[in-house]
């Protein structure tokens, strides 16, 4: 208890920028911050490098250690973090004004140099997993210590959104990255303490955090417990305070356990089962419509997902830029039969490929779909394959329908459209190609949100009509927490963020 306070005092004395914070009564601050939260996450963390993963659990841990330039709220608003403000100067130029008085955990100040280092590193080191997203960056320029201008090769309207997923690094990390990521420093509300690989990460409060009253606890431990039943048992035994990725059929058990609350929220994820558009079945829009008409989405949502999913009204889930209400797809097996009959299809067989154990209840859902489709005369061949094999089969084009979901990270649909509905992106996936859509996607990359909304609505109308995918439901994110937690927010992006959470 003593040491952090001493070092905080020493730090505050030396930092003019933090005078406002220093003026707050110390006793009140100490009182506000107490206790330890232990979270149990479903995936193991793989790395401490924020640019080298797209794992949700790694983000959940690292968001506590590093701050990004921007944050995204649970209602999809982009808000300042290390950037106080940002604006699009023109279609290919973004300017970021940085927050002053922020320091890394080792005391070095956060300035434009950090942004330059972080952005250039992720763009230039193509071994980094996030590198491909930043290839459109042309130049990162330091205007002064607290202003950075980013120019891009083509409009990059989703850049601010992507930056919510990129923690800022101190430029001092250059040249000794191995050592740095062994014990990383960020500007975040928690300092890194230790990582027992495959088991847990320990973090401790960063007392002079730039958001004065945060964090609310002294210690944060994140345990990695991939098995849901084990995660739930640890929560029920009182060993941990929050778990993610609860499946619908576990909800009842948890709800009836005293001291545990179950929270759910519509996720940024839409399930979308895509057709292979170069194969006989998927090529014919009449078959796609018939399949769509034959699937009783509401039954899947109600009976198999126990209500933990939402009906789809457009490819983009509500809340995100581009969402529009195009009305639910109807369930009409008679019409489906008529279409197939008219088109002359008899004994049609579809290969429905699943990536084993990836989505809640997926096998049961696929079996239900197989029954629904057999009702209209389509035989479904369910192929439940190990993930890497399934993906390989998809690249090779050996499927008719592929069970998959898309979490619209980073709360923006540009990635989804760019990947699945451009010729280059879809070439090894669905073989989708439509010049109209491609054009609209390019036009929708501009920074202007009104323009983007308009273009995306046009794209969605085309897709809704053509049905290159079946959108069965929007996913719901379910968490369970101890009732000792205060201020916990069930995130729609599946993150477990505890920066502002306290414990009784």
């Amino acid at each position: 208890m003593e040491n952090p306070r001493l070092s905080r005092r020493r730090f505050l004395l030396g930092s003019g920028a933090a005078l406002g914070v220093a003026a707050r009564p110390r006793a009140a601050r100490a009182q506000a911050r107490r206790g330890q939260i232990i979270a149990g996450l479903s995936e193991r963390m793989l790395t401490l490098d924020p640019a080298n993963h797209y794992s949700i659990s790694s983000t959940s841990v690292l968001r506590h250690v590093y701050d990004p330039l921007l944050d995204v709220t649970n209602d999809d608003k982009f808000v300042p973090a290390l950037a106080e403000s940002w604006k699009a100067v023109n279609n290919t130029t973004w300017r970021f004004t940085l927050r002053r008085g922020v320091r890394f955990h080792d005391g070095t100040p956060f300035t434009a140099d950090s942004v330059l280092f972080t952005l250039k590193r992720v763009r230039d080191n193509t071994k980094l997993i996030k590198s491909f997203v930043y290839q459109d960056i042309e130049e990162v320029r330091k205007d002064d210590d607290y202003t950075v201008t980013v120019t891009t090769k083509r409009p990059f309207g989703s850049l601010p959104a992507h930056l919510t997923m990129l923690g800022m690094l101190p430029p001092g990390a250059a040249g000794n990255e191995d050592a740095f990521f062994g014990k990383p420093v960020g500007t975040g509300p928690f300092r890194f303490v230790s990582w027992t690989h495959g088991d847990h990460v320990d973090l401790e409060a960063n007392a002079p955090y730039w958001k004065p009253s945060l964090p609310k606890v002294e210690k944060l431990t994140v345990r990695f417990i991939p098995e849901l039943s084990t995660r739930a048992a640890a929560l029920r035994a009182g060993e941990i305070h929050v778990i993610d990725r609860v499946w619908p059929d576990m909800v009842q058990t948890l709800k009836t356990t005293p001291g545990i609350k179950v929270l759910d929220t519509p996720a940024v994820e839409a399930q979308r089962w895509h057709f292979q558009l170069a194969r006989e079945a998927g090529k014919d829009p009449r078959v796609r419509h018939a399949v769509s008409l034959a699937i009783d989405r509401n039954t899947i949502i109600k009976e198999l997902l126990l209500g933990y999913a939402r009906p789809v009204v457009s490819p983009i889930p509500p809340g995100l830029i581009g969402h529009t209400n195009l009305g639910q797809k109807p369930y009409d097996p008679d019409k489906a039969r008529a279409i197939l009959k008219q088109a002359g299809y008899q004994n049609l067989t579809l290969d429905f490929v699943l990536m084993k154990d990836l989505y809640p209840k997926q096998l049961e859902i696929a079996q239900a779909v197989a029954a629904m489709l057999s009702d209209v005369g389509i035989k479904v061949n369910i192929r439940n394959l190990e993930i890497a094999t399934a993906r390989e089969q998809r690249t090779a084009g050996n499927y008719d329908l592929f069970f998959s979901g898309w979490a619209h990270m980073p709360h923006d649909p540009d990635w989804y459209f760019g990947q699945w509905f451009t010729k280059a992106g879809a070439e090894k996936l669905t073989r989708f190609s439509d010049p109209r859509v491609e054009q609209l996607i390019a036009e929708g990359r501009v920074p202007d949100p009104r323009m983007r909304q308009q273009k995306y609505e046009e794209i969605e109308k085309i897709l809704w009509e053509e049905e290159p995918e079946i959108w069965p439901y929007y996913s719901v994110a379910i968490y369970a927490i101890s009732d000792k937690l205060r201020n916990f927010e069930a995130r729609r992006d599946y993150y477990v963020l505890l920066n502002e959470v306290g414990i009784a």
């Binding site: 790395t47 690989h197 088991d199 035994a237 094999t389 993906r391 898309w406 760019g418």
Partner: protein, 306 residues
Amino acid sequence: MHAYVLRRVWQSAVTLIGVSILVFVILRVIPGDPAKMLLPEGAPESAVEALNRHLGLREPLWVQYGIFLRSVVRGDFGQSFQYRAPALRVVVERVPATIQLALSAMALTVLLGVSIGIVAAVRQGSAYDYAGTVLAVLGQSLPNFWLGIMLMLLFGVTLRWLPTSGFHGWQSLVLPSVTLAAFPTALVARLTRSSLLEILGQEYIRTGRAKGLGEPRVILRHALKNATIPLLTVLGLQIGTLLGGAVITESIFAWPGMGKLVVDAIFFRDFPVVQTILILSATIFVVINLLVDLLYTVIDPRIRYG
């Protein structure tokens, strides 16, 4: 004897080279693209290609194997694709948890299995014998995942005597060890019972009793020592298996051991980690088997190899 040892060591080395080739080739011919598993679903094909090149996977197979073999000799097993860290380090970090679990499960197995076996054999046909048989049948037939979850719910959630999962302190070792030991304990108990019964019927045991040796001495010194031979073989194999990791038990108890690591590495096509684990565990397996073979000659002087 020396010639025998030399020959066995040479055979072991050949086995290991064979294992390394097999592992290397099988990993690369099964479908699945490591770069695709690393990158998110929405990564463009160019990024997949570039990453595969970075990972050295675009070289011909024999070139990859050559590079691999050269590095392994220097103690470098390559970089883990998933963890972005040396594969050997990733694996070695899991060794303490793996060994702790294996050894405590082994200790339970020997202690409980042999004791139950002895009691059942000595009191053949008694209630103890039947109880032992029931335990042995249960131990061998209850699936690990069921037993593990039941133990966790009873001792972790309901009674709260022990932690449900994780790797911290001896308390967290209890439930996974018991779960893991259930099967081999049953095996060892049955084996001890049957081989002890066989030996107890032999003439030298009768001679021992006739010359007035106490019952404990007859059973422990004369009978058990001879009953140990088949046990050693089974235990040697079990140790190898346990050290190689116990996937299901590790998964249930979120135990950071080697078993779960290798399964995840296979799913994610993290070749260097799979290679490291398989080659290391093959080495352990081969060495232990070698030691067991050599131990035979120490325990039973009648066994001699030319």
